[in-house]
Symmetry: C2
Subunit: 156 residues, 2 copies
């Protein structure tokens, strides 16, 4: 029941790939992952939020080093995305623990810590055991230091 | 290195709350979580995908039973959301395991299993250890049975 913040990790060697406005119907997400597996891309995170009309957008985070293996034309064709956007200026910061969202004051404290550094949160994927945020590369070190100090953690 | 699918869980007693088009600047996500903690709402998941211009939308999943404690007016005011949308016809299905996304063929297989049942995936929050999808309530049982059988799992 008590929330616990255990560790904060950072990964700056990642890129964000957004498949913008894919048809929101069964089979699309599957086809996208199938295409990525054919390119042998390792995926770190997948985020798909709410639809806009008949479309939805799917974003995934992958290692920068694998970008050369990504066949964006094929991905666009298979997913029927209107656009494939690649954002390289990103960092992924993850806070690992227990009851991180069921105790919303903990998520609040994590987000406030970032806000206090003037860091804008670009994406969020949060569950009880892990809160991952995507922020800019240049904010990453400050973010980790600030969370480290706010929750009295060891940097890993 | 080898992917493992360990279990599939289902929660149909949840609702989705979407804060549509909040200003995309530092402090907004923090203020939202702080407001939710004041209402003593237990949050199950938070998903925020890519921005649209100066705005972004934040969605969270919470227990249906706590909806009566949610002060949507206050939330709208504090977040400056253009709209607060509540969707009750949802179910959350989670697949738990190892290397679920770094081995994209596993994520592909999970999504294909749903697509084969004609189930549309409304939201995705996926990491290596957990793939969570939001689908309709009526699809939930079929989804869990199909994933169960595809990966030879015990239902929990
Ligand atoms: C957008 C994508 O997730 C689609 N709804 C699917 O089910 O595959
Ligand atoms: C939209 C919201 O996440 C905002 N970018 C923030 O940092 O709080």
């Amino acid at each position: 029941e008590e929330p616990v913040v255990r560790a904060v990790t950072i990964d700056s060697d990642v890129v964000k790939v957004v498949l913008k406005n894919v048809p929101d119907k069964p089979g699309v997400a599957a086809r996208i992952m199938r295409t990525l597996s054919q390119n042998e891309i390792n995926i770190d995170m997948i985020i798909q939020s709410m639809r806009e009309g008949k479309y939805n957008s799917i974003a995934f985070i992958m290692p920068s080093s694998e970008l050369e293996n990504l066949d964006t034309e094929l991905l666009k064709e298979r997913s029927q995305a209107q656009e494939v956007i690649i954002e390289k200026d990103i960092s992924k910061v993850s806070v690992v623990g227990v009851n991180l969202t069921s105790t919303p004051k903990i998520a609040a404290a994590i987000f406030e810590t970032l806000a206090n550094e003037g860091i804008n949160i670009d994406m969020i994927s949060a569950s009880n055991s892990r809160i991952s945020v995507i922020i800019s590369k240049e904010s990453a070190n400050e973010a980790v230091k600030a969370i480290h100090s706010r929750f009295d953690l060891d940097l890993r």
